[in-house]
Symmetry: C2
Subunit: 771 residues, 2 copies
């Protein structure tokens, strides 16, 4: 609104950090209410079975115990599967059930005066199960005679449908092309692993439930808890505290939190639950774990012709809140930034006796990138071509945009080849020395285009959903010209408070420190249908804010025009005032205008008093960010150990509000992606028992990550922003995998699955192959 | 909105009462924050003087003491006089000052870990004063040679101006009339005396101040505290708790609360202060205490010709936040419901060395009614006429409305004679038996018209203020068709939560128990420029709500029309659904519509998702309620003791949302008014020292009060409501005074001042007079 923009694009320090680094942040663990009781979730020790005894007498009699909830106590309390797949027979599920389908499934909740008492009493809950056979692995779930998780369905298959070009057209195009590479690939099952585990404090007073929780989507929690407990939506208030990372795992509403709310209602006193690190690996939804049979067809000069992928997803015990959406997004993202005559996918998903799979940063896109970019490198190897040159040949050029992909994605703007060219230069200049230490070295590249912001999609349209992706901002200028922004998106450590404050300061013409951002309180912030997911917070929240600022400007200028007896067109906003152009003496400060607006003094006839605007931005479409990544690796052929020696990322997320925040987001995502590539996996034994260890990378494990930003404005979003939160994690598995394949060409076609642990790489090197 | 209204007009139980009567209400005293410190205000023991020593060393060294604030520590912290009188030289005042002008004026604040430690340390603050002469009584303040409170002004007179018809025209009309009665009258200085005294808890964290306080006007507190402490308005959040009565005394922002906020900022920990009953009589602003020299001129057949009043108000030590407004309202209200050729007033106000005077239920109108109605009864006595018949002769008839009074009041609607006729019937039927107990008995009547709702006025226009009286309501229908109302007005025990819920339920078509009302949180409720004062909460908050409901209905019907493929005009809202008239099968439930609105499913093209409307109602004018009161008294001529044996009130406040609440408001006001008439007075000695006792009536002192409601809709307000909160207190002093005068005709012209204590009545009977 102001004509002197000063903050958008600047490396403004994150305002969140002052409280975070001085210990003044308020996480769920910091919420202290008098008389709080503590809950412990009793979980199934078996992967599949029927609960035949759940005797809580001894637990109830234990010292300090206030309540024990069994499946009977929670009868009728169910959580929805929001995203339904074609043919899916399950629209919701009970929070406690007598049939268990994964190890760690909640079977009871113990509430006591102290956490220790609750833990002790949980040991006294006497459980017995009639065990049923486990089913681990999507192919085994499909096999004839496989044990059925839901016998009434007659199969473990939940859905089977096609996306993109029809299968017969894809087959014809593949057959017509001169060359085909085929791989069966998989990204391993990984866990979002935030610094702060999940947690909740629920308090029920005077017929109203207040819930403090670690969440990405406070209104989502509000809606689901209210519906599950049969409370009026007006009686449930959810407050999102500071959040030590979400990564998708905190967009869901879980049985644990819902049970704690139920306990608070039953007891009429506050109840707290905090997830332990050990619980996290079975209680918080993991992600990925789909198997792709993928084919890339191309002609002799390297032009891509067709791409097809048969995707088999593992949903775990039942479709989660997001159901098959991550797998569908994989299918929709498959073509990436390249040109194809035909591209399509078959999507199937099955249930297995493992924790349900859900959202995780990237949401299906790292999987698509892994598969496509591995195929591209295999095609280059087949052709004897340079992998970068092959990519440049097939990347969509700027003059081809906007472009709708064969899987219906309306790419809006960008320069994909420029990103790869820039990356190649960075790698040439930054490539580490190659000492003769007996290790084999390689460099791998990957390119991607990324759907961000969550507008309506073809898939949503097919499901009869018009939108659901809108966001609302309320912008208020107070009487002293300080500014308050309230928005439905949530702060999950991504710096959204700072970014929205930068936008608000520039668009209202006040100093940054005079802007306050309110988020994450369903009683005070506007409704958000989905919360901070899908790299949408700044794209949609920011667009709504920009819209509200435009309306506010119009009102401020109208007041000034009235008071200065000038035409609105002759006014400009600068230096904290509205001025008549060319007349330095004729001005009204923003504070003078704000005071008269709120006091209803000297306003144009009929104008509503006050300076507060509320705008909802309902996007017409997703907006598409893009990037190119490269990794340099060293592989020890004796042990199979992979070290990432260098990492480079070029990202374009449109208008960059704060480069320091975007670079930080990308670096963090890259390190998570390297963890996914090399070490992280949630592993189950054939009996459905999860392994107890999990190896995320720590700070010392992170290689130097060099980030360069490009800035092609979004053609869709007011403000020009595209999403940046997930960009970092999409490229690394493919770049690292391609680097390992480049280092070990003889084993390249066996580099198909993550994590590339020493054992896995050593095995790939040891097996006979076609390399 | 719904076509089946069920709640407006019904005696719905007050929803507030469930928590109030079961001890679950949350007053300021119930706010518990970890680490809270306690404050005690050190007050001046002298009425007038200069602080020559304020040694806090011993206090600071005392056990548990955290901070002591002196005038030097609060330099620059000032509170505004919002309403300025013509010629007033003071626009704000310091919260701590070295010149004291009333006994009880704050001079320091002691903060300690416990209240006991703070009290002990307050005793250690070593004060010395150079004493100056006190000035008590408005006439003494005007006398030549009176000590000056502000020597730089050259006088104690703050303002002197005329309202209504010019003085010369009034004098001419009085001279031309055949008869004149003249009285010099006064309503004694009284204190609002809520069940809950004032109190505050302030917490400063992360640059933001949160204030829980007992207030009628949370945004008012926010604005004044932020400005006083130099904090951004966005950094101050005020939460009004349950409030045990306001009565005007809690519309002000006081030095005490402001100092507590300053202490919280200095200490960075929560600080609490609770007013004691003893403090209340000097620390909370009292009211009334103006002297009127008043004349009523009439002709031989009893027709009123002219009314003039010379008003001399006592502002206490300095103009309070409301300044001379109560005195100005007295002047504006003087003509009441009667017809005059001319009416006007001279308004003067002085400062004296007493606690500043402020707002109290009725705000100048009981004073005007006392003076006018005493004059009317004296006129009847002079004419030998029946006081009721004389009133009926002069009351404005319904066919004369709308009518603008000689003092610019635009009476909108009513039937004043009908109210008095109804009252006379009630008195005839209900008059108590008159036992021969030696007491003398009389019945007195009074009529009034009452400005409610606070629209713009001529006086405001003259001060350049367009409005300032607007109110905003936010109305949201949640996905389950539960409804949330947020409004800027405050709950102060008057039942506004229930009344707004009734309106919302009827206008949205949902059951009452599905409506939640949010009030009193500046972070979550819309801005209110003045809060719950001036009998405006339901008038303006309700009008805004009715407007928001109309918009919500329009949106709901538009969605239903789109989904049912019907014309909006063919739809009706009833039974929780929108239906096609005449087609029982074609309907959408409100919950179905609400869900699709929030989920953005199947909406008309271009419609903003969600169901939330925000409407500001900016009234074009005040709306005028009216009433007639009667009291039956017995006077013991031996002791002067007055007993009220019967009381009757007829009130018309337009559309009555909840008759039980309105009747309760009127009964409570009547009892306060009887206290004012008979027992209550804040008394000062000539040295400016206040007397320590104060005698409000308690429940057993209350006579039976019979209330009848009339219902002439407001011609101004959407919804037709007029204010009811102050109605009860306006009539009683005049009705009781006229009853005493009727019982003691020989002393009637000496019944001119309240309280009519036994001593005062006995003196009136004992003095030689013209009766």
């Amino acid at each position: 609104m102001s004509d002197d923009h000063r903050y958008v694009g600047a490396r403004v320090p994150r305002r969140e950090d002052a409280r975070l680094v001085t210990g003044r942040a308020r996480f769920v663990g910091d919420v202290r209410l008098p008389g709080t009781a503590h809950a412990v979730v009793v979980r199934s020790p078996v992967a599949h079975g029927r609960l035949t005894r759940c005797d809580v007498k001894a637990a109830l009699a234990a010292d300090g115990v206030l309540d024990v909830l069994t499946p009977a106590d929670a009868a009728g309390v169910r959580l929805p599967c929001v995203a339904l797949a074609p043919g899916q027979r399950m629209a919701d599920y009970p929070v406690l059930e007598e049939t268990v389908r994964y190890a760690g499934q909640p079977v009871a909740l113990v509430v006591a005066r102290s956490e220790a008492a609750a833990r002790d009493a949980a040991e006294l809950v006497d459980l017995d199960f009639e065990e049923l056979p486990a089913v681990v692995g999507a192919h085994l779930a499909l096999a004839a005679g496989a044990p059925l998780l839901h016998p009434e369905w007659g199969a473990n298959l939940v859905t089977d449908f096609a996306l993109g070009d029809p299968a017969d057209e894809c087959e014809a195009a593949i057959a017509a092309a001169g060359h085909v590479v085929e791989l069966t690939t998989r990204l391993g099952r990984v866990a979002p692993y935030p610094v702060e585990p999940r947690g909740v404090v629920a308090s029920f007073e005077d017929g109203a439930l207040t819930v403090w929780t670690s969440t990405q989507a406070p209104h989502h929690v509000r809606d689901h808890v209210a519906a599950a407990l049969g409370l009026g939506f007006d009686r449930v208030r959810v407050l999102a505290c500071d959040t030590g990372g979400g990564f998708g795992g905190k967009e869901h509403v879980y049985p644990d939190e819902t049970l704690v709310c139920l306990a608070a209602v039953r007891l009429g006193r506050p109840v707290r639950w905090t997830e332990s690190r050990a619980e996290h690996l079975t209680a918080t939804l993991p992600a990925r774990d789909a198997v792709h049979r993928a084919r890339l067809a191309f002609d002799g000069d390297g032009r891509f012709r067709a791409l097809h992928c048969d995707i088999l997803g593992d949903l775990g015990a039942h479709p989660s809140n997001v159901g098959i959406s991550p797998i569908a997004v994989t299918a929709l993202s498959l073509p990436g930034p390249y040109r194809f005559d035909r591209a399509g996918a078959r999507v199937r998903a099955v249930v297995t006796t493992t924790t349900p799979t859900g959202s995780y940063r990237g949401f299906g896109q790292p999987e698509a990138t892994w598969t496509r970019e591995r195929l591209v490198d295999e095609a280059a190897r087949r052709l004897g071509a340079d992998p970068v040159e092959l990519r440049l040949l097939n990347l969509l050029r700027p003059d081809e945009l906007p472009h709708t992909s064969r899987t219906w994605q309306p790419y809006d703007s960008g320069d994909y080849p420029a990103a790869l060219e820039k990356l190649r230069t960075m790698v040439r200049e930054g490539r580490p020395a190659r000492p003769a230490d007996g290790r084999r070295r390689g460099i791998g590249f990957s390119c991607h285009v990324e759907s961000t912001g969550m507008g309506p999609s073809e898939a949503m349209r097919q499901a009869g959903i018009q939108s659901g992706g809108y966001e609302t901002a309320v912008l208020r200028m107070e009487q002293d010209a300080s500014v308050v922004v309230a928005c439905g998106v949530a702060a999950i450590g991504q710096g959204i408070e700072t970014a929205l404050a930068q936008l608000a300061a520039d668009h209202t013409g006040v100093p940054l420190e005079r802007v306050r951002v309110l988020l994450g309180d369903t009683a005070a912030t506007p409704y958000s249908p989905v919360g901070s997911i899908a790299s949408r917070s700044l794209v949609l929240g920011g667009a709504a804010l920009v819209g509200a600022a435009a309306r506010l400007r119009e009102k401020i200028v109208a007041i000034a025009a009235h008071q200065l007896e000038a035409a609105a067109g002759d006014l400009e906003v600068s230096g904290g005032a509205v001025r008549v152009k060319g007349d330095p003496s004729a001005r009204r400060t923003l504070a003078e205008i704000a005071l008269s607006a709120w006091r209803a003094w000297d306003l144009p006839e009929g104008m509503t008093p006050g300076l507060e605007e509320r705008v909802t931005y309902d996007p017409a479409a997703y907006t598409y960010a893009f990037g190119a990544h490269a990794a340099a690796v060293a592989v020890d052929p004796e042990t199979g150990a992979v070290e990432v020696e260098g990492y480079w990322a070029v990202n374009d997320c449109g208008v960059v509000v704060n480069p320091a925040i975007v670079e930080g987001q990308i670096r963090g995502g890259v390190v998570q992606g390297i963890g996914m590539a090399l070490t992280e996996e949630v592993v189950y034994g054939p009996d459905g028992q999860p392994a107890a260890d999990y190896l995320p990378p720590y700070a010392p494990d992170a290689p130097p990550v060099e980030v360069a930003l490009m800035r092609t404005p979004s053609a869709v979003t007011p403000g020009g922003m595209k999403g940046a939160g997930e960009a970092g994690i999409i490229g690394p598995p493919a770049a690292v995998g391609n680097a390992v394949a480049a280092a070990l060409p003889e084993a390249a076609d066996r580099i198909t699955a993550t994590p590339l642990t020493p054992a896995a790489v050593w095995s790939a090197l040891s097996e006979p192959g076609d390399g």
